[in-house]
C-alpha cells in the first residue's frame, strides 16, 4: 500500500483556542485572507451545544483539488501529501470549488490559490507539522495514517460533514460529544 500521512483531530477535547490556526499562519506566512488551518465552530441552541473542529488539508486519497485543477498544479507526493506547485496556479478557483472541505484558499490580493502542504518543508527536516506541534491541548497528531488508525479511534465524517467517500480524507476525528452516535 502506498504510504499516506494523515492527521488525527481530537474534537472531543479541542477547546477552540485557535493556536493551531495562528501557528500555521506564522509558519507559512500566509496572506490575511488565507488560513491553511481553520477552527470551525458548531453551535446549537436547544439543547445548547458548542464544539470546535480544527482542519487543515486532509491530503485525501482521491484529492478533488488535484483532479479538477486544469493546469496540474497539484501533485500527490510519495508520502501522500497533496502538494501544490504555487508557481503553476492560475487562480481559476476550480480546486476551491471542488474540495468538499473548503481547504484551498483563494487570495484576492494575489489572485491565486494555495493550501496546507502538511508543512512539507518541516517534514523533510524531520519536524512535525507546525499546527500539531503548537496545539497546547495535544489535540492534533500527525504521522503515518495506518499508525494513527492503530493508535486512535475516530471517524472520517460525522453528521454535517461531507461524505468521506468523495475523497477518502486522510483524517481521523474523535467527534465532540454531540456528534457521537
Amino acid at each position: 500500500m502506498a504510504k499516506q500521512v494523515g492527521f488525527y483531530m481530537n474534537m472531543a477535547n479541542c477547546y477552540g483556542c485557535q493556536t493551531c490556526q495562528v501557528a500555521c499562519k506564522s509558519e507559512q506566512q500566509t496572506a490575511p485572507a488565507v488560513s491553511f488551518r481553520r477552527v470551525r465552530q458548531f453551535n446549537n441552541d436547544y439543547p445548547v451545544m458548542h464544539a470546535t473542529l480544527s482542519m487543515g488539508c486532509n491530503h485525501c486519497e482521491k484529492p478533488q483539488c488535484l483532479v479538477n485543477c486544469p493546469v496540474g498544479a497539484y501533485t500527490k507526493l510519495d508520502n501522500g501529501i497533496v502538494y501544490q506547485d504555487h508557481s503553476k496556479c492560475i487562480g481559476c478557483r476550480m480546486c476551491v470549488m471542488a474540495c468538499p472541505y473548503g481547504v484551498p484558499q483563494y487570495d484576492p490580493e494575489e489572485g491565486k490559490t494555495s493550501k496546507c502542504s502538511y508543512c512539507k518543508e518541516r517534514i523533510d527536516q524531520g519536524l512535525q507539522p507546525r499546527c500539531v506541534e503548537a496545539c497546547p491541548g495535544g489535540n492534533l497528531a500527525a504521522g503515518d495514517l495506518e499508525e494513527l488508525k492503530a493508535k486512535y479511534s475516530g471517524v472520517q465524517e460525522f453528521p454535517g460533514m461531507p461524505a468521506a467517500a468523495i475523497t477518502n480524507p486522510s483524517i481521523i476525528i474523535n467527534p465532540a460529544k454531540a456528534f457521537k452516535k
Partner: protein
C-alpha cells in the same frame, strides 16, 4: 520522498510573498509575515522565504496577567521572525496570542519616539520630541506638582500588562525615592481573593493545577479555564476521561461549560447564596468531614456572644479557645488529647458562647433549596444534588481561578463560601482536591525587589481602583497634578470609563508609557515609547506559572523605544537619585534571585521549576495561617461592620436589588474574557483580528433579543446611565435569559471597551471591583 518532492523548493511560497509585498494595498499584510517589514535595515531579502532553520533562537516570556508561558523567538538578520512555545522546557504551551507577539514586535504602528500632545486629549495629534526634551519636561512637571500640590499631587498606576521583575517594582521604587505619592489600591481582577484567602487559609496564589487530573469531581465555579487557563485545560479532559464529573456554574454556557457534564446557569452576584445552600445540606445530612474540621479548621473556636469576637487564651495571638468534650472545659485549640466541640448549642456554655461552626450553620440554614432557587435561579433539586455530589465524590476540586463570580458587589463572601465547602468536606490538601487559585512560584520562593527603596514618610492618600474616575474628578483624596501610567490601559479596563476619560482629561499632565497607541495613550499629554517582549532583558518570577524565567533580549526595539527600567534610570539620574537605579538588568536580576536558590546561570539554560511537582497546597491540611488551621471567621470583616462569617448580601445593581434601576435597565451584564486578548493586550494584532474577528459582540438570549427586535448580527448599543457600548448582537441560547455577556478588552479604536457601562461600586469587604453586577438595556443601533 521522491525526487520530485525534493525539487519542490519553497520558491513557490516566495512567489506568493513577493506578490504580497508588491501590493500597496497590503501594507498591514507585510507585517503579517514578520519579514522585512521593519523599515530600517531590512537585511532579509525582499520576498525571500524565512529560513527558520538557520535562525538564532532566544527565549523570553509572555509577561502579562496570564500563564507566563516561556517563548522561543527565532531571529534572522536582527529581525524576530517567529515565536513558538518553548516546549518541553516549559511543559505548557503558548497560545495564539503568545505566538502573535512577533507581530507586536514588528508592528508598523510601534511608537518610536516620545510623543507630545498637540491637539485636544483623545484627538490623537502629536509631535515627536527627543528623549532629552521629554525627560526635562517630566522633571519640570514633577517638581511643579510637588511645589504646588505636594507629593500627594503625584500619582502613578502600574497594571497587569507586564509582570517582569524590572518593570512595576521599579516604578514603585522610583515613586518612593521621589518621596511618595497618592496611590491606587485594589486590583480590578482579584482584590477580594487577596483579602479573603490569606486570613482564612494563610496565603494566596495556591493553585491545584498539578493534580486536576486526579480529581473525581470538578466544580468550575464562575470561571472559564478552557479560555483563561487554556494550556492545562487538557488536565480537566484527562480527569473526565478517567471518570471525573465536571460541572460548570456560570451565567453563560462557556467554552468550559460546553465540555462539562452539566451547565448550571446562575444569576450574577448570588454565588454565596448557592454556596451556603449547599453547605446547609452538607451539614444537615452530615456529609461533612468532622475529623478534618476538628483537626484542621477553626470552626470549633469559641466566640463570645457579647463581643462577637473569637476568644483566645490570655496573651496568646494564636491561642483560640475551644470547648473540650473530654474534660468538659474551655481549653486552647491546640492542646493535646482534646476533642473540641463543633457546637455548644444546647449546652450551658450557650448563654455566653457560640462556636464558629454555629455561626456558619446559622447563616447556612437560612438557605433552603427553595430559597436558593428564588435568589440564584438554580433549581432546588440541583442545589441538593450539587451538594451531595460535591461532598461525596472525593477528591473534589473547586476551580476558582480569580473568576468573574468574585467581581461582584459582595464577592468576598462568594470566595469565602467556596473555601467553606472545601474545608467542610475535607478536600483541602489532597491531590485532586482543594480550591484552585491562579498560582505560581511565589508560594515556594521569595523573589526580592530589584531596587530596594525607602518607605515614603507620611501618608498621601489612596484611591480605590474602581473609583479612579470619580475620585480624580472630585479631587479626592487629593488634587492630582501629575499622573504616570504604565503596563495598563485604564481606558479599556477601568469601570465607568466615561469618568476615567474625564479624569485623564482633567489631570494636567499624564504620562503614558506604552509600545502602541493604546486607548489610554490617546488621552496622554506625553507618550513614552517602551520595549516589548524580546526587546529587553528581564526576570519573570511571578504568581502565574511554576517556572522562573529569564527574558532574553533578542532584537533591538524600533526607533528610540526604551525599556521601563531605562526610562526610570534616566529620570532618576536627573532627579538626583540615579545611583540606586544604576545597575544592569543582569545585576538587578541577581539581586532579585538572591536567596532563592536559583541562579542567573541556571536560567540562561532554560526556565527553572520553582514549585514541588506535584504541588499540593495546604498538604495534609496544614494551612499557612498562624494557627496552621483554616480560620473561617474573618475578624477584618467584623471590624468593617460586616458579618465575620460568610453570609449573603443581595447586590444592589441586580434585578432583585434596586427595583427602580432594574425597571430601567432590566438586563444583567457580565464581562467575559475571550481568546483574542489578555485584558486589552494583543487586541489589535492582525493575526488576532483575522482569527477571532475585530468587532465586539454581546451575547444575548434569543428571547431577550426578540423582545427588542434584535436579530443575530445586528449592530446594537448596550447602555445605562454610565454610558454606552456599541457592539454586534450574538443571539444564542448560550446564556441565561435576562443576562447578557459583554466582551472585555476592546480598544477605543475598535469601538471602545465594555467598561463604559460597568459598575464602579467598590466591594465593601475587600475593596474589589464589581463589574459583574451591572444592569443595562440594549437597543438596536438606529
Amino acid at each position: 520522498m521522491s525526487n520530485e518532492s525534493k525539487d519542490l523548493k519553497p520558491a513557490t511560497n516566495m512567489t506568493r510573498r513577493t506578490f504580497i509585498k508588491g501590493t500597496g494595498a497590503v501594507a498591514a499584510t507585510v507585517a503579517l509575515g514578520g519579514v522585512g517589514m521593519v523599515a530600517s535595515g531590512a537585511d532579509v531579502a525582499e520576498g525571500a522565504p524565512v529560513d527558520f532553520k538557520n535562525a538564532k533562537t532566544f527565549t523570553s516570556s509572555c509577561t502579562m496577567e496570564c500563564l507566563h508561558h516561556n517563548l522561543k523567538g527565532y531571529v534572522v538578520d536582527g529581525k524576530l521572525v517567529k515565536i513558538e512555545a518553548n516546549y518541553p522546557n516549559d511543559p505548557t504551551k503558548a497560545c495564539l496570542r503568545g505566538l502573535s507577539r512577533v507581530q507586536w514586535v514588528n508592528h508598523p504602528d510601534r511608537i518610536k519616539m516620545p510623543l507630545l500632545r498637540t491637539g485636544e486629549k483623545g484627538e490623537g495629534k502629536w509631535k515627536e520630541i527627543s528623549w532629552d526634551e521629554a525627560l526635562d519636561l517630566i522633571v519640570t512637571k514633577i517638581k511643579e506638582t510637588q511645589r504646588e500640590l505636594g507629593n500627594q499631587g503625584l500619582c502613578y498606576k502600574t497594571g497587569s500588562g507586564n509582570f517582569g521583575q524590572l518593570v512595576n517594582g521599579v516604578a514603585a521604587a522610583f515613586f518612593n525615592y521621589l518621596g511618595g505619592c497618592t496611590t491606587l489600591v485594589g486590583s480590578l481582577c482579584c482584590q477580594v481573593v487577596t483579602t479573603t484567602m490569606p486570613p482564612m487559609l494563610g496565603s494566596r496564589y495556591e493553585d491545584t493545577r498539578d493534580t486536576i487530573q486526579d480529581s473525581k469531581y470538578i466544580l468550575v465555579w464562575g470561571t472559564n479555564p478552557a479560555v483563561t487557563m487554556q494550556s492545562y485545560f487538557y488536565k480537566y479532559m484527562d480527569a473526565m476521561s478517567k471518570g471525573a464529573r465536571m460541572v460548570t456554574i456560570d451565567p453563560r454556557f462557556s467554552e468550559t461549560a460546553a465540555k462539562s457534564d452539566e451547565w448550571v446557569p446562575i444569576l450574577p452576584g448570588t454565588d454565596a447564596a448557592l454556596g451556603l445552600g449547599m453547605l446547609k445540606i452538607i451539614i444537615e445530612e452530615e456529609l461533612y468531614d468532622k475529623d478534618f474540621l476538628l483537626k484542621h479548621t477553626g470552626v470549633p473556636f469559641l466566640v463570645d456572644k457579647a463581643t462577637g469576637d473569637q476568644i483566645k487564651a490570655e496573651g496568646s495571638e494564636t491561642g483560640y479557645l475551644v470547648y473540650d468534650e473530654i474534660s468538659k472545659g474551655i481549653v486552647p485549640h491546640d492542646q493535646e488529647g482534646i476533642v473540641p466541640a463543633l457546637s455548644v448549642a444546647g449546652t450551658d456554655l450557650a448563654a455566653k458562647y457560640t462556636t464558629v461552626f454555629d455561626l456558619i450553620y446559622n447563616e447556612a440554614k437560612k438557605w433552603t433549596p427553595e430559597k436558593v432557587q428564588e435568589e440564584t435561579h438554580v433549581p432546588a433539586e440541583t442545589v441538593i444534588r450539587l451538594a451531595r455530589e460535591y461532598a461525596t465524590s472525593k477528591p473534589a476540586m473547586i476551580i476558582q481561578n480569580m473568576g468573574g463570580f468574585q467581581r461582584t458587589e459582595y464577592g468576598s463572601y462568594a470566595v469565602g463560601a467556596q473555601f467553606y465547602l472545601a474545608a467542610f468536606t475535607g478536600n483541602f490538601g489532597k491531590a485532586g482536591g482543594g480550591v484552585c487559585d491562579a498560582g505560581g512560584v511565589g508560594t515556594n520562593i521569595k523573589v526580592n525587589d530589584a531596587i530596594p527603596s525607602p518607605k515614603p514618610q507620611g501618608q498621601f492618600g489612596t484611591i480605590p481602583s474602581p473609583k479612579f474616575g470619580e475620585y480624580i474628578l472630585a479631587d479626592k483624596p487629593n488634587k492630582i497634578g501629575f499622573m504616570w501610567i504604565m503596563t495598563t490601559s485604564m481606558m479599556t479596563q477601568y469601570p465607568n470609563t466615561n469618568k476615567v476619560k474625564a479624569a485623564l482629561k482633567k489631570i494636567p499632565f499624564v504620562v503614558v508609557v506604552d509600545s502602541l497607541m493604546t486607548s489610554t495613550a490617546l488621552y496622554a499629554d506625553l507618550v513614552l515609547p517602551c520595549t516589548t517582549v524580546f526587546e529587553y532583558t528581564d526576570l519573570l518570577a511571578h504568581n502565574r506559572h511554576h517556572y522562573v524565567q529569564l527574558m532574553e533580549k533578542a532584537v533591538d526595539p524600533p526607533g528610540q523605544a526604551k525599556s521601563d527600567l531605562e526610562i526610570f534610570q534616566m529620570l532618576a539620574k536627573r532627579l538626583g537619585f540615579g545611583e540606586a537605579f544604576d545597575k544592569t538588568p543582569e545585576e538587578l536580576i541577581e539581586v532579585c534571585l538572591k536567596g532563592t536558590g536559583i541562579t542567573l546561570e541556571q536560567l540562561k539554560k532554560g526556565p527553572v521549576l520553582a514549585t514541588p511537582d506535584p504541588y499540593i497546597p495546604y498538604k495534609d491540611g496544614i494551612f499557612k495561617t498562624p494557627t496552621k488551621k483554616a480560620e473561617l471567621f474573618v475578624p477584618m470583616w467584623k471590624s468593617k461592620g460586616f458579618n465575620p462569617v460568610v453570609t449573603y448580601i443581595r447586590p444592589n445593581e441586580f434585578i432583585y436589588g434596586d427595583r427602580q434601576l432594574a425597571a430601567k435597565y432590566p438586563l444583567m451584564a457580565v464581562q467575559r474574557k475571550i481568546n483574542r486578548t489578555i485584558h486589552s493586550t494583543f487586541g489589535t494584532l492582525p493575526w488576532i483580528c483575522e482569527a477571532t474577528g475585530s468587532t465586539p459582540h454581546v451575547l444575548i438570549h434569543p428571547e431577550d433579543a426578540a423582545a427588542r427586535g434584535i436579530k443575530d448580527g445586528d449592530r446594537v448599543v448596550v447602555y445605562n446611565d454610565r454610558g454606552e457600548h456599541r457592539c454586534v448582537a450574538d443571539v444564542k441560547a448560550h446564556i441565561k435569559k435576562g443576562i447578557v455577556a459583554l466582551e472585555n478588552g476592546w480598544w477605543e479604536q475598535q469601538g471602545g471597551s465594555s467598561s463604559y457601562v460597568t459598575s464602579d461600586f467598590v466591594e465593601p469587604l475587600g475593596g474589589g471591583h464589581s463589574c459583574n453586577n451591572t444592569l443595562v438595556e440594549i437597543r438596536k443601533e438606529a
